[in-house]
C-alpha cells in the first residue's frame, strides 16, 4: 500500500525541488539585488510550490497503483537506451547513430520482420535526413 505511484512520484518531485532550491538555483541563477524582481524569485517560488505539492502527494496519495515491476524495468531500459543513443548522436551524428539506434530498439522489442526492420532503420532515417538536411536545409544533431 505504501508503494503507490503518487507516493513515489511525490517523493522524487520533492527531492527534485529541494535539489533545485538548495543547490542548483543558488549556483546557476544570478541573485542580483539591483532589479525590482530578482532573477531567482520566480524559480525559487515555483520550487517551493513543487516541494510542497510533492510532499502532499506523499502524505495523501490517490489510489493510482504502481505498474508491474517488469514494466518499470523495461521502461527504464528503453529510456536509458534512448538517452544513450541521443547522447551518442549529438557526438557522432544523426546519419551514423539513427539507423543503429532504430535497429537496436526494434530488435529489443522483438521485431524480427526484415521488411519493417529495413523501413525503421534505413528508410525512415533516410527520409528524415532528406527532408531536414536537403529539403529544409536545417541541421540534424551532430550532422556536418
Amino acid at each position: 500500500m505504501f508503494f503507490l505511484t503518487d507516493r513515489i512520484t511525490g517523493l522524487l518531485i520533492a527531492i527534485f525541488g529541494i535539489t533545485l532550491y538548495w543547490f542548483i538555483i543558488p549556483n546557476y541563477v544570478d541573485s542580483s539585488q539591483s532589479s525590482w524582481l530578482r532573477p531567482d524569485t520566480i524559480p525559487n517560488a515555483t520550487c517551493l510550490v513543487t516541494i510542497f505539492c510533492g510532499l502532499v502527494l506523499v502524505i495523501k496519495p490517490s489510489s493510482h497503483k504502481l505498474h508491474a515491476f517488469s514494466t518499470i524495468c523495461r521502461a527504464g531500459l528503453f529510456f536509458m537506451l534512448l538517452a544513450v543513443g541521443l547522447y551518442v548522436m549529438s557526438l557522432v551524428g544523426f546519419v551514423y547513430v539513427a539507423p543503429i539506434l532504430a535497429l537496436s530498439l526494434m530488435l529489443t522489442i522483438g521485431e524480427r520482420r526484415l521488411f519493417w526492420l529495413t523501413i525503421g532503420s534505413v528508410a525512415i532515417p533516410f527520409t528524415i535526413w532528406l527532408l531536414v538536411v536537403r529539403v529544409l536545409e536545417r541541421s540534424l544533431p551532430g550532422a556536418s
Binding site: 544570478d30 525590482w36 515555483t46 505539492c53 510533492g54 514494466t71 518499470i72 522489442i109
Partner: protein
C-alpha cells in the same frame, strides 16, 4: 461602421480560380508540415516566403495564410493518432482525440478536429473582416497587468480542471513555470538555469518540450508494454459501425456552443499580441470541461474536448491578423512572417521589379 462595398470588392478580388488553387496548395503543404512533429507551419512559411516573391501579392498571401492555417489543422492529426502533437497548439486536442482514436474512432476524431478548426477559423475571420478595428483598440488597452491577470486566470482554470487531482494540477503549473524561467531574465537579461548552453538564452523551445513531454513518454510507455507480438502504432479497429468513422450532423450541432465558446476565446486571445494559440486551446478545453454536465467524460474521448481545443487554436490564427492589419503589430511569429511578406509583396517597387 462596416464598409460592405470594400468587403465585396475584396471578395471579388479573392474569389478567383487561381487564388483558390494557391489556397488549396498552401493548405495541403501546411497540413503535411503540421503533421510532422518538429517542423510546423511557421518554419514552412519561413521557407515558402522567398518562393512567393515571384507571384502576384494576392495568390502569394493566400498561399502563406493557407500554409499557416493548414498547419494548425495538420498538427491535430498526429496528436489524435499517436498522442504526439505536430504543433504545440494541438497538445490539448490529444487529451480527448487520442482516447477516441484508441476506441476505434480515429476518423471521427480527426474529422471533428477539422470541422471545429474550420468553424473556429471562420468565426475569427468574420470578426477580422467586420470588427477588427474596434477590437484592436480594445486589445491595445490590455497592459501587462491585464495580461498577467488573464494568465493567472488561465492557470487557475487549468489547475482546477485538467486532471483529477488539484495538487497535481498545481504541480504541473509550477513545473511549467519553472521550466519557463530557463533562459534570460526579462528584466536584466541575466541567464537563468542555462548551464552554459547559450542556445537556451531564449528559453526551452516549445516544440521540444511538447515532443519530450508527450511523444517521449508515449514512446517509452509503448515500448515497455510491447510484447514480441508486434502491433501497429495506430491500431484502427473496424467497429463495423459507419457512424464511428464520421461526424454526424447531430454530433457537430451538439458541439455548437463549445465551438462558439472556443472561437470566442481564440479570437479574443488572438487579438492580444503575445498570447499564443496553445494557451487559448487549453483555456477553452478547461472551460468546456467546467461547464459540461459530464466533466468525467473529458479525457476519455469526448468530442466536445476536441471541438473546444481545435476551434480555439484555429480562431487564434485569424485573430492574430487583427493587430497586424489594423495596427501593424504581429500577434504571433506566423503573423510576423506574413507582415514581412506583405511588406515585400505590396511594396510597389518590389512588385514591379518582379
Amino acid at each position: 461602421m462596416v464598409d460592405f462595398s470594400t468587403i465585396m470588392s475584396g471578395f471579388s478580388d479573392a474569389f478567383t480560380l487561381w487564388n483558390f488553387a494557391f489556397v488549396l496548395f498552401g493548405v495541403v503543404i501546411g497540413q503535411f508540415v503540421g503533421a510532422v512533429p518538429g517542423i510546423g507551419p511557421v518554419m514552412a512559411m519561413a521557407i515558402a516566403i522567398p518562393f512567393t516573391f515571384g507571384l502576384d501579392p494576392l495568390p502569394a498571401i493566400t498561399f502563406l495564410v493557407g500554409v499557416n492555417k493548414g498547419g494548425l489543422v495538420g498538427g491535430a492529426v498526429p496528436a489524435i493518432l499517436i498522442n504526439t502533437p505536430g504543433t504545440p497548439d494541438a497538445a490539448a486536442t490529444a487529451m480527448d482525440g487520442h482516447p477516441l482514436a484508441k476506441q476505434g474512432k480515429p476518423l471521427k476524431a480527426t474529422k471533428m478536429a477539422l470541422f471545429s478548426s474550420v468553424t473556429g477559423d471562420t468565426f475569427s475571420d468574420i470578426v477580422l473582416i467586420s470588427v477588427s478595428a474596434p477590437l484592436a483598440i480594445l486589445a491595445l488597452r490590455m497592459g501587462p497587468v491585464e495580461v498577467l491577470a488573464l494568465m493567472i486566470f488561465a492557470f487557475s482554470v487549468l489547475c482546477g480542471l485538467v486532471g483529477k487531482s488539484f495538487v497535481k494540477g498545481i504541480l504541473s503549473a509550477a513545473l511549467g513555470l519553472l521550466f519557463a524561467t530557463v533562459g534570460a531574465d526579462p528584466e536584466n537579461y541575466n541567464p537563468r538555469l542555462i548551464f552554459g548552453h547559450y542556445e537556451l538564452y531564449d528559453g526551452l523551445p516549445l516544440i521540444s518540450v511538447a515532443i519530450g513531454m508527450l511523444a517521449m513518454s508515449e514512446i517509452v510507455r509503448r515500448l515497455s508494454e510491447t510484447s514480441s507480438n508486434m502491433k501497429a502504432a495506430v491500431n484502427i479497429k473496424n467497429t463495423g459501425n459507419s457512424d464511428d468513422q464520421r461526424v454526424t450532423w447531430g454530433e457537430y450541432w451538439s458541439c455548437r456552443y463549445t465551438m462558439l465558446r472556443g472561437a470566442g476565446i481564440g479570437t479574443i486571445l488572438g487579438a492580444l499580441p503575445g498570447i499564443g494559440s496553445t494557451a487559448a486551446a487549453f483555456m477553452s478545453y478547461a472551460l468546456s470541461k467546467a461547464l459540461s454536465k459530464k466533466p468525467e467524460t473529458y479525457g476519455k474521448g469526448n468530442l466536445h474536448g476536441i471541438a473546444a481545443a481545435e476551434s480555439a487554436n484555429s480562431a487564434v490564427v485569424g485573430a492574430n491578423l487583427i493587430p497586424l492589419l489594423t495596427l501593424g503589430i504581429p500577434g504571433s511569429v506566423g503573423a510576423a512572417l506574413i507582415i514581412s511578406a506583405f511588406m515585400r509583396l505590396c511594396n510597389p517597387t518590389s512588385v514591379t521589379s518582379v
